[in-house]
Structure formats: C-alpha cells, structure tokens
Subunit: 328 residues, 2 copies
Amino acid sequence: MSLLVAGTVCIDTIYTPTVHVENVLGGSCTYFAAAASFHGPVRLVAAVGEDFPLEHHRTLARFKNIDASGLEVRTGSKTFRWGGKYHDNMDRRDSLFTELNVLGEAPPRIPEQFRDSRVVFLANMHPGTQAGILKNLPKHRLVVADTMDFWINGARPELNAVLRQVHGLVLNYDEAELFTGKRNPITAAREILKLGPRFIVVKKGEHGALLIHRDGIGALPAYPAEKVVDPTGAGDTFAGGMMGALAASSATPAQLLGFDNILRALAHGTVIASFNIESFSLDRLKTLKPAELRKRYEAYCRMIRVQDSKTASKPGSPRRTRKASKRR
Amino acid sequence: MSLLVAGTVCIDTIYTPTVHVENVLGGSCTYFAAAASFHGPVRLVAAVGEDFPLEHHRTLARFKNIDASGLEVRTGSKTFRWGGKYHDNMDRRDSLFTELNVLGEAPPRIPEQFRDSRVVFLANMHPGTQAGILKNLPKHRLVVADTMDFWINGARPELNAVLRQVHGLVLNYDEAELFTGKRNPITAAREILKLGPRFIVVKKGEHGALLIHRDGIGALPAYPAEKVVDPTGAGDTFAGGMMGALAASSATPAQLLGFDNILRALAHGTVIASFNIESFSLDRLKTLKPAELRKRYEAYCRMIRVQDSKTASKPGSPRRTRKASKRR
C-alpha cells in the first residue's frame, strides 16, 4: 500500500562527546523516509527554504524508493535548523538552537498525486497541522502519529482530536508519563488507548520499545548495538522501518492492525534504527545494503527467540521430590 | 540435577517512596531459593545469628522445595542486617545501614549431604569465599557466580580467580562497565568472557537483561510490570528462576550450557522476578501459585514473539517499483 510521511526536513548541527558535524541533513521525514524506503516506495511531504543545499537534495535522491516530489522548496523562506549536544552517556541531549524558519509558516502542500495515499505517518508537528494533512488524504486506511512534550503541554485539545482519528501513536517513555501523569508506561499507554488509538508504541531508546495494543502487550529490546556514533533520528528511523514494514505487508485488512503484525513491524523498526545510530545523518543508511539489513533482522529475531524445546522444564509443574531429583 | 545456592540470609529494613517495612526476611539466598523452588529442590547455604526470628525460619519452611538444612544458626553471632531507601523512581536506592555481623565471620559450613551438588550458584559474596565454597563441591557441573562493585574494586585478583572456574557470571549493567572500563555492555561482557566464563548475564533491572554467550548474543526485555512495590531481591529471584530452570532442564550435557538453553532460563528468571517486585520480602512468592507462574511465562513469551508469518514483508528484498506497489 502507498505510504506517505509528513513532517520536517531539517539542517542539523550535532555535538557528540567526541565529534561534531555542522549543517548535515536531518529531520523526521528524512530519517523516516530513508528507513521506510528499504521496504518499498515512500512519499515525502515537507517544506524547506531556498537555502536547502543541493547536496542534501542529492542525498535524498540516492534513495530510489523515496518520492521527494512532495518536498516543497519555498521561495523566500529558510530551512528549519536545529543544533543539539549529547551528554556523555548519549542518552540525553540539550538543544543548542532551534531556528523554526519555514516551520513557523504554512504547512507543506500535499501534491495532488499523493492524495490517494493509504498508509500515513504524521511525524512530530503541531497536532493542528497533523489534522489538516490527514484531511487532505481521504483514502487513508492506516494512520500513525508521533508527538512530543511541547504539544502535550501546549496543544492538548488539538492532540486529543488527532488521537480520535489515528490508529496508532508513537511516543517516548517520558512523554507517555507527561501525557497521563502515570509513571508506569503500560498504565500510561492504557490511558491513551482510551482516547481513540488501537495501539501505542512507547519508545525507550537504548532499552527498546513497548507495544500497548488493544489485543495485548508486546515488549522488544533494542538491538544490542556496540557502535553508537549519533542517536539523532533513531526514533524516526524506527518509525520508518515500522511503517515501511506495515505498508509492504500483504496482511489482510483484518490482520493489518492485528497485534502480531504490529509487533513484527516494531522489530523491523528496531533493527533499522540500530544501523542509523552507527553514523551521522543518513551516512549509514545510504550505504546500507538490503542483505545487511536482512541479516541483522534475522540475527535480532534469534536474539529474542525463547525456544520451548523438549528440554524445557515446566515452571509450576508438580514439584519433584528430592529423590526423583537425585535420580537425574 | 541438584541445585545449591550459597550466599546471605538477611534481615532487611526497606523504605519505598510510599511504604516502609522493618526487619523483614531478605538476602540473596532467600530470594534465590524461593524463586528456584518453583522448578525443583534447592539447597540453601548461609549463616545467620541467634537473633534470626522464628517467623523467618517458618517462612522459609513454607517453600517445600527449599532444603534449609544448610542454614547455619551460629551461636553467639548476630544476623546480617541491611537498610535501604528507594528514590522516587524506584530504580535507585541508598543504603541506610549495613550491619555485617555474621557476614564478617567465617563463611557458612556446607553440610556433608550437600557435597554432591551439581548445579551451583555463588551469590554475591567475597570472591575468596565463593572460591572456598566451590572447592567443597567437587561434583559441580554448572557454576554461575554473582558479584558487585565492592569486590570489583576491592578483590579483583580473587574475582578473576573465580571467573576462571565458573561457567557464567551475572552482574548489573553499571558493574559490567566498572569491571572493564567499557561503557557498552556488550563490549564489556565480551571482555569478561575472555577471563573464563562461557556466558555473561548483564542485568538491566526494569529494562531487562542481556546474554553474552560464546555462541551468540541474547536480549530480553523485563516483563512489563504495572505493579512495582519493592524491587529488592529482583536480581536474586531472577537468578533463582534462571538457575532453577537450568537445574530442572533435561538437556543433554552438550545442550545444557548452549545458547538456547541459557536464554530460555533467562526468560524464566525474568518472569519470576516480575512477581517478586509486587510485594515486600517473600510476600508475593509465598502465595504464588504454579499455575499463575506458568500463565505469566506463557504471556511473556507471546509478548516477545515476533512472528515470521506469510504476511511478512521481506526487508531488503528487491525493491518494488511504484507501479507494482499501486497494484496492491
């Protein structure tokens, strides 16, 4: 099914404890689309300014499955720019600067040829913008939204309105607590389920992700990565891998939103995110080979596969006597 | 196979953000043995003082599979006492007091009838004591040790000597870093593997556990618990569930230490630990029914089971053209 992502394309400056890079390609749409493109075509909707460098256009063009005809280059505007600095342990960061520029203007236009999109990811934006975009995609069948603390605090009614229209919501561990006042992520996500979605994905960064679905709970560890250069975009590549897998799934309409199908999609998101953090910007994804991705996905599935073999002991089976135990 | 645990039996005073309890039964051996007892018999080796309350003896006796004949009540000595206070988020705690008492004296005696034990868990103790205990268990076939920052910093040569004799080591995330100076837990555990063990289990508390085995890497999330009253003993019940499952396993000698068998044991540890944190001391485990444990184990396996169904998209399979995508 046709997949569309609407969000931001950004120019990033990033400091990690050891290295820093300036003016690299970033943004939720960018990371999402690059990740999703490994599963099939993905339509990108975002706005940049006239200053958006040619080399970044070229980088996007390297991903043959990204349809960037929805990347609006707005005359007289400047591209959204963000600078961030990671703490020593890489799990927290401070924003150094945020120049909204084109983000503070009208939302990106949706090209006519994108209006039949069936699978939609509303990346982190003002929930009012998310709702406006969804209105222009009348054929949507599966919609997932991202959000952040800023909208949870500042645009709650609009966010609640979005939640009534989406099938899934993706958010961070601490955002789930902020949203509901419930410290436990499962309890928090259950509260959010009541507002409309069929499933909530709680991202825990290096500690994996939880799926709180109306039909059950899933828990997946992160891929245990040894090489972490820059975590920027990990959440967006996770979402891209997940939505790409869902869009490419040949599940029946009944299975599409089912627990098993969504959990499998989370696994795909987990694995591609583990590649993205190995380098800055799209540096790793642009050299990633499909066979490498497939191999790591299979390795990841083995890492979490608990076998119920014939050799399994049965917990809670009638207790053996000590005598019986000694015979073994 | 016969399972033995050597470690501490303790009298705990615990403050959580909402409740506190005084003089409750605790200690590594206590939690370990209670958890392991759900899989089969377990022999307990520890020393307490004359002050050890009758009610705590009675609590241990409620677990029919615990053989407490190795609980040495030492005349003229006092029981080890510990007090701790948890921070608001329950993932960190401060020690309020530590009265070593009997722990500062000679190690516990191993009863003659325990000397044929095959599976051994050396709970957190001075590594010199761990080595001395192992020497008195000549028939051991599978030995796993726990340790902590105190011994990593203060008894490194003795700890290294223990590592040359054990098959597995269990330690916390931050202890793995402390041990090796490597921040990444996989990298750290690989370093420790070089010192002798066949596998390392890195515990991450509410974020699960990693298995770094000579034959591969495993990663399991914690059971997503909604009820967390007191995390004390979670690591020891985890180890007890894990070792209990291994001791009860009917795996061939070749399979016993294999990756799949150890990872499955970690899953058993994960699940019983999730019960233990629902209440103080052994309050939850002493009412836990085998059927409840089995049910949650099965639920946990479903939570992490990524299905490779026929509906699965193949990541990295040849890219579809947009036209092909539209046909679906």
